[in-house]
């Protein structure tokens, strides 16, 4: 007996993600899914971002996906914000069901922005919808100028691409034109911010982007 199915394999994950998305819409919370390779600067970016947002009275929380340790979570807890750690014990990405679980430990009535620091990896996190408003792809220059072409799904799905560690451009063979050319082909409309988070470069533009996203969330009723 043959049965026609015609359904997305990840439909269960996507259904849950859409439930979370409506919940976030109702609560007017912006959720950003931050995706990058290990070591490209996700945690550092958040360490720089949180105080700047706090200074503007935004209430922030972080859901931290980590393969093994709580080191990143510890770094972020120093800022006095809720940090929910999900250790995936080897799994390469977060799924919507883990985010739903993390929500249980957050007071959603007292938040404006949730950052999800996904597991460091450019393939799997792009595949799994977690109910976010925007995927932000963070690429650091030492990783090479060919990453956009090699991981097209992520860069196509991203609403914003941050090129981090641009202060190192003078020392490494990263051709910005290659990066820009690939991105123009894969995702012509995507916003790009060049940044050196450690050096406080490009943070203002990033904060402006976040603020615009938050106010858009309040406008859609």
């Amino acid at each position: 007996m043959q049965i026609k199915i015609m359904q997305n394999i990840l439909a269960a994950n996507e259904r849950k993600a859409n439930e979370l998305r409506s919940l976030l819409k109702e609560k007017k919370i912006l959720m950003v899914n931050l995706i990058s390779s290990p070591g490209s600067g996700k945690t550092t970016l958040l360490e720089k971002t949180i105080p700047l947002l706090q200074a503007k009275n935004y209430r922030v929380a972080v859901i931290e996906g980590d393969v093994e340790t709580d080191r990143d979570a510890q770094r972020l807890m120093a800022y006095g914000i809720p940090v929910i750690l999900i250790t995936t014990s080897g799994a390469c990405h977060l799924e919507s069901v883990s985010i739903e679980k993390a929500f249980e430990s957050l007071n959603l009535d007292e938040l404006d922005i949730i950052f999800v620091e996904n597991v460091g990896n450019l393939v799997c996190p792009a595949e799994f919808d977690i109910g976010e408003d925007a995927k932000v792809a963070l690429l650091s220059t030492p990783e090479g100028d060919d990453k956009v072409a090699k991981y097209p799904l992520l860069f196509q799905e991203a609403s914003l691409v941050i090129l981090n560690k641009v202060d190192l451009l003078a020392f490494i063979p990263f051709k910005e034109s290659y990066f820009e050319e690939d991105l123009k082909q894969i995702n012509p409309q995507v916003a790009v911010i060049k940044m050196a988070a450690q050096q406080d470069m490009g943070l203002e533009e990033w904060i402006d982007w976040l603020r615009e996203m938050v106010s858009r969330k309040h406008r859609t009723d």
Binding site: M1, Q2, I3, K4, I5, M6, Q7, N8, I9, L10, A11, A12, N13, A91, C92, H93, E95, V123, C124, E127, F128, A149, K150, Y151, P152, L153, Q156, D182, K184, Q185, I186, P188
Partner: protein, 118 residues
């Protein structure tokens, strides 16, 4: 290794579908997967077989049809398959493209033995 998450989701779905359609055994599963998904078919099959041990899909053959990254160019109006890591129209070089295929991750159909009516 996103194949693991995909294999687990597939198995979860099959167990549900078997109940729904009153199957005692799933014999084959046909998937359509776009090449943009960067799924390695051998890896998916291996993980699926490992996870399916002891389930209703234990002996299911996984058939995977890979779909090309196919676009329709909004400039020259032609349809073309893109070579790896190229995202502009092979005919005119434009990058205003509509995606025809390449991002699918679909269970097309399954085959199974129904539970005998008695």
């Amino acid at each position: 290794m996103h194949e693991l998450g995909v294999a687990q989701s597939l198995l979860d779905y099959l167990e549900k579908a078997a109940k729904e359609h009153h199957l005692k055994k799933i014999k084959s599963v046909t998937l359509k997967i776009g090449k943009m998904r960067q799924i390695v078919p051998e890896t998916l099959v291996f993980l699926f077989q490992t996870l399916a041990e002891g389930t209703i899909a234990e002996q299911a053959q996984l058939q995977i049809e890979l779909l090309p990254v196919r676009v329709h160019c909004l400039q020259c109006n032609q349809t073309a398959d893109l070579p790896p890591r190229k995202y502009s129209c092979p005919h005119c070089g434009n990058s205003s493209l509509e995606w025809v295929s390449g991002k699918e991750l679909i269970i097309d159909h399954i085959e199974g033995d129904p539970i005998d009516a008695n």
